[in-house]
Subunit: 257 residues, 2 copies
DNA sequence: AAATCGAAGTTGTATGGCCAACACCTAGTT
DNA sequence: AACTAGGTGTTGGCCATACAACTTCGATTT
């Protein structure tokens, strides 16, 4: 009943120790060999654990020197990035959301390309409004391929987390590509988000696939500016992505957690 | 004189084979064992190579099945993401840029926090305008700590790539954190970018550190909307980030490369 | 005082092996 | 026809070892 592999649990312990400032910041981690002895595992397992921390931007790694603890990095795992609800809860918000409209359609060219569907396969389009602290924060236009749509369509309209529901149904997101740019609010955006038509919005387009590479959703999200920023951390080895909450305060901008 | 480790060179070969559609998309890669035989290395080395491809979103990996080739992913390495000039060249543009203003200052609170500097250490502030196809595309306000600033300050004002120069000087970026959100053009932005004051711009704030975790730069870049979008690919394993060029065309938007 | 050399410590690369977990197909059973 | 059980192929997790490449620091030499 161990479930989680050893190297992940070790990474978790080390991450905790680091965020509790047991070493740094700027401090040096024990050597791989020392950690291996301490945890009674081989050096390879320790290296796997440290690889995870390096990917999260928590520690450096250079040949010849011990690893150095970096300044507190925004640590959020993939699951949190993938799910708006999960992310919101992690920053202490109680997310809300409701379906504005949904229905089956024939896919347009965009949807066919991103969902790799046959032209005659139906897709489910869902328009969902997301709130933070009761305020409209994001509008989500998602298209699901038929297989996923049949699961999603019967959800209650105020379901907070579609992702978590899909996971319980055995649908797991393994891979996603996000494109971030700027868009202008159309009349519908304006009405639902409480801004004016033509106002600039932060747009995130997302395509998610399952572990086998099969497309699971194609979505265009529009965020009210000032409510959210995207944070990407990349090292030579790799890069987790996070969504950050902004708290306007007296003209300047602070970051929560 | 081999220089590059074996697993990297194998990854490079496999990447080539994949983008040449030797297997997919949707096709299955040979098994780790088969590849190990083919390249005459151990399975572990093959696994390291495949790890790189997985991180770039080129292939999946699931216990029990062979790896599957995903649809063409935007492949750009960290070096390209880090350098505007390098990125621009990779999409076939000839980047230009020039320094508008630069000078030594005492760091403000923000700069002290991000550059971890002592309050009395000087910092070099540089305002640089970047062009794509001769058009203003981005305005870059960068602050360098003293050590880096002394190298940068003597550059010709029309140097295309500061990053590449720094690399030749032995300064390497190993780690960066990007925050992407929306900003409004102030009067200076408007004058230099050729837009109106108050116009929305895509903002990227970036903090880069060297392999030891020492801050190398703190920058705020403002992009003219429609010229650039940010692409982040994340899998359960990790996430490279890329910058994408947008080509407006007849009201809709297409993607180059 | 400055430069050179060398030893110790540390991470990176690579090998080889073993078993567990999982996907997939087949043959057999119900 | 549907379901079950098992076998095979494949990737994930973990171990033990060896050497290479690099950093750091102290001692020696210049």
């Amino acid at each position: 009943m161990t479930q989680e592999p050893r190297y992940r649990r070790i990474a978790e312990e080390l991450r905790h120790a680091i965020t509790e400032h047991a070493y740094g910041p700027g401090g040096k981690l024990p050597s791989e060999g020392a950690l291996a002895e301490q945890y009674e595992v081989s050096r390879g397992t320790i290296r796997q654990a440290l690889m995870l921390l390096r990917q999260d931007g928590l520690v450096t790694s250079r040949r010849g020197t011990r690893r150095v603890v970096l300044d507190d990095a925004p640590v959020q795992d993939f699951a949190q990035m993938q799910s708006f609800a999960r992310w919101a809860r992690s920053i202490g918000e109680s997310p809300e959301g409701r379906v504005i409209r949904q229905g089956w359609h024939l896919p347009d060219a965009d949807e066919q390309r991103h969902l790799r569907g046959e032209p005659d396969a139906r897709v489910l389009r869902v328009l969902r409004l997301r709130l933070l602290s009761g305020q409209p924060a994001m509008l989500e236009r998602t298209t699901y391929p038929e297989a996923v749509g049949t699961i999603v369509e019967n959800l209650a309209t105020d379901t907070v987390s579609v992702t978590e529901f899909l996971e319980r149904a055995g649908v797991f997101v393994a891979d996603a590509e996000h494109t971030i740019d700027l868009a202008r609010a159309d009349r519908e955006d304006a009405a639902l988000l409480g801004c004016a038509a033509g106002d600039p919005l932060l747009r995130e387009r997302r395509r998610s696939t399952d572990p086998a590479g099969v497309p699971l959703e194609w979505s265009e999200d529009r965020y009210v500016p000032g409510s959210v920023a995207f944070v990407v951390h990349n090292s030579l080895a790799s890069t987790p992505m996070t969504r950050h909450h902004m708290v306007p305060q007296g003209g300047s901008v602070l970051w929560s957690r």
